[in-house]
């Protein structure tokens, strides 16, 4: 870990210069990547014009070399060539997308350099989509990954579903662990944990959604870890709209260590602490802990009960357990349709008790408490927020998940048919 930190700081200029750079870059292209340090350019003061000079070099290359020019060659070339760009490039200021593409490609070259160790040998080219694998931020602690919302991730109300967003959180968490070289076997366990048959198990998850993204939006997910008590870990996420920078959602989760075989909770062994301790951030949770007790529901206290829920093949992860995110889908499924059509999920708190597999038959119980906490809207009126309590359990009664959800009225959508021209906004 220490080694990689040193390497990271070598690649990126110190905080002060990078913020200057990012201010400039931000002005030029909106919220671009925060750091533009590149191995070849670290020596020069980094500036917007510097990027253009690099572009100039890159433009020259194909003409000299003919066909395929690898990224690696280009980055090295940048180092060697003297940075005297023809003035004409300034005059032919291209559209910003080109500048952005230039910066992105430089950035990819840099990323390739320091993530080389994590790449499988059979992938010689750095051709993953520009935001496919994410990166560690200059502080070495926060991991950032971007996701483009794909068409099949859009739900019936034309926005990304909460499951999609939660899936992105899961993907980011795994890529974070992978990018710092701590991916043991299976998903999420570090090598020292795998040796001891230990796994992380999520016990609590809190999410607050401020705005649901639409098709083709790009979201930027930041994630980091922190200690939770003496033997737990907390992972937080902050998701933003890449284009506007506005918050999409915030989430915090608590994890405990468990022995895979005995299913007993375990202390964090010293060796594991050595692996991950340096990644712990000294920050409070991004969402205030909702410590209200989640009361247990039963048939008499629930307003709605949905039985016969069974996992499909596609719901299972590699351990043949139902993916955590699917539970959220079931919980939402069994909320009354009247709420689903008029309201959107604003927040939720979940407590995970047990996992289930393919042969499980589940039931979902929902109780609706529709009083708005601050009394701002009369009960039952369309403007009121709604709160629900949930329980997912096996037929035999064993609890899987307990939860609380908060709903707010949907904003007027007003998007009937989005033609290509209307949709084309920057």
């Amino acid at each position: 870990m220490v080694a990689s930190m040193a390497v990271a700081s070598a690649f990126f200029p110190g905080p002060s210069s990078s913020s200057v750079v990012s201010a400039k870059a931000s002005k030029a292209i909106g919220e671009g990547p925060e750091n533009l340090g590149v191995r070849g350019i670290v020596a020069k003061p980094m500036s917007v014009s510097g990027a253009m000079e690099v572009k100039a070099q890159a433009q020259a290359l194909p003409k000299v070399n003919g066909t395929k020019v690898g990224l690696k060659t280009e980055a090295q070339k940048v180092e060697e060539d003297s940075p005297s760009a023809p003035r004409t490039f300034y005059n032919q200021l291209p559209d910003w997308s080109f500048l952005f593409a230039a910066i992105t490609t430089i950035f990819l070259a840099a990323e390739k350099q320091f993530t080389l160790i994590d790449w499988k040998p059979r992938r010689p080219d750095m051709l993953a989509d520009a935001f496919g694998l994410g990166k560690i931020m200059p502080d070495g602690l926060v991991f950032r990954q971007n996701f483009s919302i794909r068409s099949y991730e859009i739900g019936a109300d034309r926005t990304a579903s909460i499951e999609t967003l939660m899936n992105h959180l899961q993907e980011t968490a795994l890529n974070h662990v992978r990018s710092v070289g701590l991916l043991g076997d299976g998903f999420g366990s570090t090598p020292e944990m795998s040796k001891r048959n230990l796994i992380w198990v999520v016990t609590k998850m809190q999410v607050i959604v401020e705005k649901y993204p639409s098709w083709e939006d790009v979201v930027e997910v930041d994630s980091w870890v922190a200690p939770s008590g003496k033997n737990g870990m907390r992972r937080d996420w902050h998701v933003r709209d890449y284009r506007t920078g506005k918050t999409v959602l915030r989430a915090t989760s608590v994890w405990v260590m468990m022995n895979k075989q005995t299913r007993k909770l375990s202390k964090i062994p010293e060796e594991v602490r050595a692996e991950i301790g340096s990644y712990f951030v000294d920050r409070g949770p991004i969402i205030e802990d909702d410590s209200r007790k989640l009361a247990k529901l039963d048939d008499s206290t629930a307003d709605y009960v949905r039985k016969g829920l069974t996992p499909r093949w596609g719901d299972l992860d590699i351990n043949q357990h139902v993916n955590n995110v699917k539970y959220i889908g079931w919980i939402i499924e069994s909320a009354p349709i009247s709420i689903l059509e008029s309201h959107e999920l604003a927040g939720m708190t979940l407590e995970y008790r047990r996992e289930c597999g393919k042969d499980s038959m589940l039931q979902s119980l929902t109780a609706v408490d529709d009083d708005d906490g601050d009394g701002s809207a009369p009960e039952g009126s369309p403007g009121a927020g709604i709160e629900c309590r949930h329980l997912l359990r096996l037929e035999c009664g064993a609890e899987i998940v307990r939860g609380r959800t908060e709903w707010r009225p949907k904003r007027a959508q007003g998007l009937e048919t989005k033609g290509p021209l209307q949709a084309a906004t920057v």
Binding site: A58, Q59, P62, G66, K68, V69, L71, E74, D95, W96, S97, F98, F100, A101, A102, T104, T105, K120, R122, R123, D125, L127, A128, D129, A130, F131, S148, R150, S151, Y152, G155, A156, S161, N167, F187, E216, D217, V218, Y242, R243, G308, W313, G314, D317, I318, Q320, N323, V325, I332, E333, L340, E416, T417, K418, G419, P420, L421, A423, A424, T425
Partner: protein, 360 residues
């Protein structure tokens, strides 16, 4: 756009020669489009050029969505097909540590949508042309055939190329080729057949040549098939299952998550349903190599569906009522499927799957 292509070439993302052609194409198109609009031209082409000009004028690069600029998806140099790369995400991976067939089907759908959008068709999920919208026509899938030779794993990047062309008088087909971007090897192929349906009457409709020309202008004229070989599986008729079925899963209900932007059950959900009645012993030991689905009726979101499966060849090697005999291959298991509405018993779709033994 042109500079971006040149720069992408510099970055080794696309070959320089491709970039040059594409750049010329783009510049050419914009100029050509401008000229065309002011002069008489073949109606279809004029419409097409207006579409391109529209995209070009508003776009250039500013008009295009941020995702499109960042995405590694674009029309290939001759403009007749579209390529896009996707990275496989951890939650798209199934019990075999590889992408599920539903993930693959989702990506095929996604790249098809993006192709339609990149040539200027509507993005409301229907991928309709302006004339189609005027005539209240939408696309409906009639057949889907997917073959996967090698499933990608988490973190792999898959490059999918897609194109469409006319099929007979009333149909259109869309073909895909999937490649592992790193190695360049073909990991899968797919083809699908589409027809036009009137949105209001829900009846299939023949269309005039003008309407077909409108979207076919972006499609190769000389046939290009992802399954060029004769007697390939994508053309085989799928017989109805004999009663009673060997395996079944009854009462499957669409979840809210199965509905697409248009409140219809997503095509990919049917694939999941067809696989639901597969026996565990096959799922544990085999990998889906081929799936062919014939879509007959759509499922409403409050319908329940029954999924039925039977092995296509009985154990002693005799066929299940099919004319052509096939040598009973131990390695490849074949199944017939039938999805019907629980309530009415009407057929929703029928399918065939082939499974190859997993080497563990």
């Amino acid at each position: 756009m042109a500079e971006m292509l040149r720069f992408c070439a510099a970055a080794g993302l696309i070959r320089y020669s491709e970039a040059a052609v594409a750049a010329a194409e783009c510049r050419g198109r914009r100029r050509w489009a401008a000229v065309r609009c002011s002069s008489r031209a073949i109606p279809g082409q004029e419409a097409a050029s207006r579409l391109v000009a529209g995209v070009g004028a508003v776009g250039g690069a500013e008009g295009k969505g941020l995702a499109e600029r960042l995405r590694l998806g674009s029309l290939v140099p001759d403009g007749l097909s579209y390529k896009e790369s996707f990275v496989v995400r951890c939650y798209e991976v199934g019990i075999n540590k590889t992408a599920t067939v539903e993930t693959i089907a989702n990506l095929l759908q996604e790249v098809g949508c993006n192709h339609a959008q990149s040539v200027g068709f509507s993005t409301d999920g229907f991928a309709t042309t302006p004339t189609m919208r005027k005539l209240r026509l939408i696309w409906v899938t009639s057949r889907m055939h997917i073959e996967i030779y090698k499933y990608p794993a988490w973190g792999d990047v898959v490059e999918i190329e897609t194109w469409c062309q006319g099929e007979g008088r009333i149909g259109t087909r869309r073909d895909w080729i999937l490649k592992d971007l790193a190695t360049g090897e073909v990991i899968g192929r797919a083809t699908s057949k589409w027809v036009m349906m009137n949105q209001d009457t829900r009846k299939l409709q023949r269309v005039s040549d003008e309407v077909r020309e409108e979207y076919l202008v972006f499609c190769p004229r000389t046939p290009r098939l992802s399954f060029p070989e004769e007697n390939n599986g994508s053309l085989k008729k799928i017989p109805k299952l004999a009663d009673p079925a060997q395996y079944s899963r009854l009462g499957l209900v669409p979840r809210r998550a199965d509905l697409d932007m248009n409140q219809h059950v997503n095509n990919v959900t049917y694939i999941g349903w067809v696989l639901e009645s597969m026996p565990q012993e096959i799922i544990d030991t085999h990998e889906l190599q081929t799936i062919t689905l014939d879509y007959r009726r759509e499922c409403q979101h409050d319908d329940a569906v029954d999924s039925l499966t039977s092995s296509e060849f009985a154990e002693n090697g005799s066929t299940n009522g099919i004319a052509t005999t096939k040598p009973h291959d131990q390695e490849l298991q074949q199944f017939l499927h039938f999805l019907k509405s629980s309530g009415t018993g009407l057929e929703i779709n029928r399918g065939r799957t082939e499974w190859r033994k997993l080497i563990r």
